[in-house]
Symmetry: none
């Protein structure tokens, strides 16, 4: 999952970032309206967490930017004020949920999850491809019924490839989905590394990860 956090208070931001990062989500951080808009122009996000009070303007501007662009990305608004009016205002502007500071991080996570759930109703299906079964709910992958052990990043990578099975996925796209901006510059080589590791673990299956030199990777069935 890829999130954008727009928040200028350092300690609040740090707490949020590390809590999501720990779960393996890719979270980017913007400190101002401008930075947020730049990130949004460049990158698709699954969820935006938006503080209302920012140094160079109001969070509402960002909300409007998102909605006038026709995006349906769920937005959760954070604010220090608890007035009902404020809440109604944000919700009217297109926010999907609302949280008053100070809040419990678990509640933030719960709300983000709830938004995503509303977004994609019933995506609890296992994906089967050739002889591998991928179960995102159980966090499990099996090859013709026998489970294999994947580490978080490997699982992550397989999920991306599986979502684009039979299609060529550029390495940069994989990289983006696996790592967030602020994860101090990870080398693109990391992707290649994980492709290698995943290949080894999928060795016994009838799918393989094909390299298209200069273009990307492709998950194919050997049939």
């Amino acid at each position: 999952m890829r999130l954008l956090l727009v928040e200028d208070t350092e300690d609040v931001a740090d707490a949020i970032i590390s809590s999501f990062a720990r779960r393996g989500d890719a979270i980017d951080h913007a400190l101002s309206v401008r930075a947020a808009c730049e990130s949004l122009a460049v990158q698709d996000y699954d969820v935006v967490i938006l503080d209302m009070g920012l140094p160079d303007g109001d969070g509402t501007e960002i909300l409007e930017t998102i909605r006038t662009a026709g995006s349906r990305t769920p937005v959760l608004v954070l604010t220090a004020r608890s007035d009902i009016e404020d809440r109604v205002f944000a919700l009217d502007k297109g926010a999907d949920d609302y949280l008053v500071k100070p809040f419990d991080l678990r509640e933030l996570h719960a709300r983000v999850r709830a938004m995503l759930r509303r977004q994609t109703p019933d995506r609890s299906g296992v994906i089967s491809f050739a002889d591998i079964q991928f179960d995102p709910a159980a966090l499990m992958v099996s090859v013709s019924g026998v489970p294999i052990n994947l580490a978080r990043r490997e699982f992550n990578l397989l999920e991306i490839l599986l979502a684009n099975r039979e299609r060529v996925v550029p390495k940069e796209k994989i990289f983006e989905r696996m790592f967030s901006f602020n994860e101090d510059d990870v080398n693109v080589n990391a992707v290649e590394l994980y492709v290698g590791r995943l290949r080894r673990k999928l060795a016994g299956s009838s799918v393989s990860i094909k390299t298209l030199r200069g273009m990307g990777y492709q998950l194919v069935s050997d049939e």
Copy 2:
């Protein structure tokens, strides 16, 4: 097990809460339609216990909210009235069971368990997995017939793992199910701690709790 109690009568609510808390279940309490809807938006529950008469509306609204959202969470309705019509009305609206006040707490517990059982068709009350038998009604666990002593939280943890046996359960999910919101922020480390304790107590059995670093825990049979 995580429950939501929607009830505005204090003494009734207190009795219910402490009875479930004693058992080790995480129970959240909402005093109004509004509070209930907010909790439901944020958190998945295994069961909702719903009083019909509330200060700011009728329990039916909540029932409708739940069902129109497509959720199948079992709902047990409490009411002071015993009319058949009332009962039919609630059930038509999507309630799974019905209890007339005043009621016996043991009956409430029994009905809640029954609803959960219906939820997962393969559950006939006691769960057997490899050589362990788990009886939620009697609060008993045995390994190949001989009972073992589990503390409340250990029992709780085992219940969660058993409900997701062979699947990977993220630590955060376990945490959510073990502790309710109002339990002042317990460290996530508590989960790890109980995993350790449960492991020791299950040492003689043929099941084990596997760690998947960064992903969660998984109850597996050693066969």
